[in-house]
């Protein structure tokens, strides 16, 4: 009986608190990403961007959120009601679930406990990310289908085919990375990159990074791959029938996706929470963790800026261009990269 009840309550609370912090932090960051997006758009277009709500407009996201919540909640008469409500929830939870395996820092020592700053360092970390990202497509698919609107359905189909095509190239590009790291565990990958004498993975796998980056844009449905919400041809895309907070969830999940994929890219290719030219083991663990988190966030913010910068630079691809790029360009490139990496590892290092 006692063995059954021997749950590590401390571990459980510790993890729950960590989960809560990470979820609220992701939501908060996503909130301010909407502000950042509008600000970046403004500045790239020679205008100031939102600047009325509070100093520099920093309360703008709350005004936007309030506006979304206050809108009338409409569920179309002919829609499939349960699925219609499930769609945005699925999109949101799939977006949030990925943060479980991202190592946000090394560990902190609090109350005599050694708390790892990662919710779950599972040994198939990257596979988990892929699995959850694939579930994210269902948010779009279900939402688009349940709306019972032909534009939404078309957009959902586009979204699904796009996500599936680009997942392939994404996976293939990662195989090359995995060959060099030899592990799927994200925490381990970061530790390898932190090791002295070892550069960040971007130095070993630049092509894989570029392919992964392009695919990340496609997976997040960001411009130039935002075909599922192509306003010009599909009215609003898959969330056309959505209003109020359900629409807000869809819009929000896009930003969370962007945040998480930035985090994954930083973890895989840019050393995660590693600070270059600094030996973290010389610092006390708590300070090292703080420095690490700041470093990670800085890198993520750079990536987020990059996402926005691309969005406000290039127009949307045509659908055939999108498919061409995915299947005829990225997949062969990723395959070649994989092959070359394998050959080099085999012949040079004789592993």
């Amino acid at each position: 009986m006692t063995t059954l009840l021997a749950i590590d309550w401390a571990l459980l609370t510790e993890k729950l608190i960590l989960i809560a912090i990470i979820i609220f932090a992701s939501l908060g960051i996503a909130l301010y990403m909407t502000y950042g997006e509008r600000k970046v758009a403004g500045i790239l277009q020679d205008r100031p961007g939102p600047n009325r709500a509070g100093p520099f407009g920093i309360f703008q996201p709350f005004a936007d959120g309030l506006k979304l919540i206050m809108k009338e909640e409409i569920i179309p008469d002919t829609s499939n009601k349960a699925l219609f409500i499930l769609g945005p929830g699925l999109a949101m939870s799939a977006a949030l679930m990925t943060c479980a395996v991202v190592p946000w820092g090394d560990h902190v020592e609090l109350f005599g406990r050694n708390i790892a700053l990662q919710i779950a360092d599972i040994n198939v970390g990257i596979l988990y990310v892929f699995a959850v990202v694939s579930v994210g497509v269902y948010g779009i698919m279900i939402g688009g289908w349940a709306s019972n609107n032909k534009f939404s359905l078309l957009a959902a189909l586009r979204g699904a085919s796009q996500a599936i095509s680009y997942e392939l190239a994404m996976g293939l590009s990662l195989i090359a990375v995995l060959m060099t790291t030899g592990t799927l565990q994200l925490g381990e990958i970061v530790k390898q990159q932190m090791a002295p004498g070892h550069l960040w993975n971007i130095a070993y796998q630049p092509l894989a990074f570029i392919i992964f980056l392009v695919c990340a844009f496609a997976e997040c449905n960001r411009t130039p791959f935002d075909l599922p919400e192509a306003e010009s041809e599909l009215n609003q895309g898959y969330h056309q029938e959505y209003s109020s907070m359900k629409l807000g969830f869809y819009l929000f999940s896009e930003y969370i996706n962007m945040f998480i994929s930035s985090a994954i890219m930083v973890t895989l290719f840019f050393g995660g929470y590693d600070v270059p030219f600094l030996n973290e083991s010389l610092l006390s663990p708590n300070i090292a963790a703080l420095v690490g988190i700041i470093a990670l966030m800085t890198k993520i913010v750079c990536f987020i800026f990059f996402f926005m910068w691309v969005r406000w630079t290039i127009p949307r691809f045509r659908y055939d261009q999108l498919m061409n790029l995915g299947w005829k360009k990225l997949v062969p490139l990723a395959l070649a990269n994989m092959l070359i990496t394998g050959a080099v590892i085999l012949l040079w290092f004789n592993k």
Partner: protein, 178 residues
């Protein structure tokens, strides 16, 4: 065809090479262009705090004028209403009673004088038509509002303050800053 400007470029229609067809270089070039715009000067005029100067011939909201003694100049002749292409002006005339000489300059005056600012096209023809120099177009424009009714400006809104009784308000209306 001869090019009208020297900016015209001959387009090549060769099929793209593999490197071109993954767009990266061209996207990079485009991103450099947008990046350079971060450092450009913003032409924005932050409206309520900053305003753009109007041209000297700007035609804005109407003002019903008074003479030097503060008497209303309008005699309700209706020429402005006739001249108005948008039919924005309506008025009702009334006869000046004995003892009102200090209020109205002429023997007949406008008891009611309304301009519908939603109809008005700010052409200024009323100003030109007026034989009494009674109506002028000023350099302000109608503020936004929630109701149509509030865009019908009556005498209360149009009449300039009396210079003899309310010199401060008059100065403000004239835009004279002390």
């Amino acid at each position: 065809m001869q090019a009208l400007t020297n900016r015209a470029k001959i387009m090549e229609r060769k099929p793209m090479t593999f490197l071109e067809s993954i767009y990266l270089w061209n996207i990079f070039k485009g991103m450099m262009i947008t990046f350079s715009h971060i450092f450009k000067k913003q032409p924005t005029i932050h409206y309520p705090e900053q305003t753009r100067p109007f041209s000297p011939v700007f035609r804005g909201l109407h003002v019903l004028n008074r003479d030097e003694e503060g008497r209303e100049r309008c005699t309700a002749c209706g020429l402005c209403a006739v001249a108005c292409p948008a039919e924005a002006i309506t008025m009702e005339a009334a006869e000046r009673l004995p003892g009102e000489e200090n209020l109205y300059r002429e023997e007949k005056y406008a008891a009611r004088y309304e301009i519908n600012m939603l109809r008005c096209i700010f052409c200024g023809l009323c100003e030109e038509a007026c034989p009494k120099d009674a109506i002028y177009l000023s350099e302000t424009f109608a503020p936004a509002s929630f109701t149509r009714q509030s865009f019908i400006y009556g005498k209360k809104d149009l009449l300039i303050p009396d210079v003899t009784k309310q010199p401060l308000e008059f100065a403000e209306a004239k835009g004279i800053k002390n």
